[in-house]
Symmetry: C2
DNA sequence: CTGTGCTTGTGAACGTGAACACGTGCGCCC
DNA sequence: GGGCGCACGTGTTCACGTTCACAAGCACAG
């Protein structure tokens, strides 16, 4: 791996947070200063070769015959992931899901404090959720700019998702996490990830169905 | 594709719900009886060849020169995904996230009604959430059995996740969706999917960081 | 200072999924 | 009833990610 090779595969990027989580969870009980790829693999639920290859993209931070220095690895991974500072986020849509996410402490704890809540419904503006006053979505540019927000979360109904995405982009937000069950498109220079909770369940349903025995109790007139 | 080829790739399975969603969203406005792979691809945000290949795994349900019959396709996809009937689910953990998920209508709407809520904390047992009384996790086997629940959702803190998973499996639940930020392992015959909201944000953070210019404002003593 | 053992780093093989291109077959028009 | 055009179905090619296997190299012991 030459000195400036910085093209980290997407699959690897998706695993780095898992390694990070594993290492953080480790610190408590067993304070070993060093960890082997094998052990880290076990903690993260992947295979050891993958761990080594993934970490090698960050640089040669391990010591042969010994393993990786836990503290140093944590530091390097945090730096690479951009987690050396907090990233304030704005949640758009203060319905059930939006409020849920706002109250869920998991974001703030891990470096993503909820800096603002916005909604399109004037009736909701001014409401306090999780100690934050809901503001109107028209103020988005000012809010994002003022608080230095780079990440937006879409928690609206499907119908509003695309328009909200457009407004987020217009407000200068360059990373979007979409919870609405709808396709949204953004400019190439904006990052977009989506989480559709119902889709996850439907995938489980498929395998469940599969196990229950193909075409149990279903009679279909197949021509061929 | 021979008659009984039923090995649907995982990547395809993950896209079927998206196609389904696209077709359902379509029904309203443009009631065309038929749809081309090209148009469906556009709606689902993928490419047309992929749509055709994915759908071909279900069987030859299209008509050359015409497209796919929307109604028939909906029926076949629903059948394949096991969505011809509802799948009641149990949510374990009635903290912020658990309550949030219970109140979020998105599950029930799409065929996954919340049939039960359980928690390990006796103080929470009896509470009403979303019109459902919280029960104790010790009752899980009886609850699952009584309501015919096959899918469980873990919405507990990370520390409890593995034990909850074990209990779900012991109660006869064979599909698990894990929201806790922890690795859980289950027997091979149990399906497991995980959603870690913070990990999604961390991935976004990586690309955000990347764009902001590598090592902006970070001074690291690199030896090599 | 040399040998030994252990774990990393990585080239190469492998497998899976994506993209392509075109043959195939159906409907429609004349 | 024949020909034409269109969109599906699919064999093939290609790219990506995973896995394997082993050489490289560090620490430590003697």
């Amino acid at each position: 791996m030459s000195e400036r090779t910085r093209r980290i595969p997407e699959a690897t990027v998706a695993r780095l947070p898992v390694y990070l989580r594993s290492l953080l969870g480790l610190a408590e009980d067993d304070k070993a200063a060093t960890i082997s790829s094998e052990r880290l693999a076990e903690l993260a639920g992947v295979n050891a070769a993958k761990v080594r290859k993934d970490l090698s993209y960050l640089g040669s931070y391990g010591t042969r015959g010994v393993g990786y220095d836990v503290e140093y690895l944590l530091f390097q991974m945090s730096r690479e992931l951009g987690l050396t500072h907090d990233w304030p986020v704005v949640i758009v849509g203060v319905g059930n899901l939006g409020q849920a996410l706002a109250n869920y402490g998991g974001f703030t704890d891990r470096g993503f404090p909820i800096a603002a809540l916005v909604d399109a419904d004037p009736a909701k503006v001014g409401e306090m959720v999780h100690g934050i006053a809901v503001r109107h979505i028209d103020d988005l540019p000012a809010i994002a700019d003022g608080a230095g927000i780079a990440i937006g979360i879409i928690a609206t109904p499907a119908g509003a998702a695309q328009e909200v995405a457009d407004r987020l982009v217009a407000a200068g937000i360059t990373s979007i996490l979409n919870f609405a069950p709808a396709l949204v498109t953004v400019p190439a220079e904006t990052s977009l990830r989506k989480v559709d909770l119902a889709v996850e369940l439907q995938i489980l349903s498929f395998y469940q169905q599969q196990r229950a025995g193909p075409r149990a109790g279903v009679t279909v007139a197949r021509t061929s």
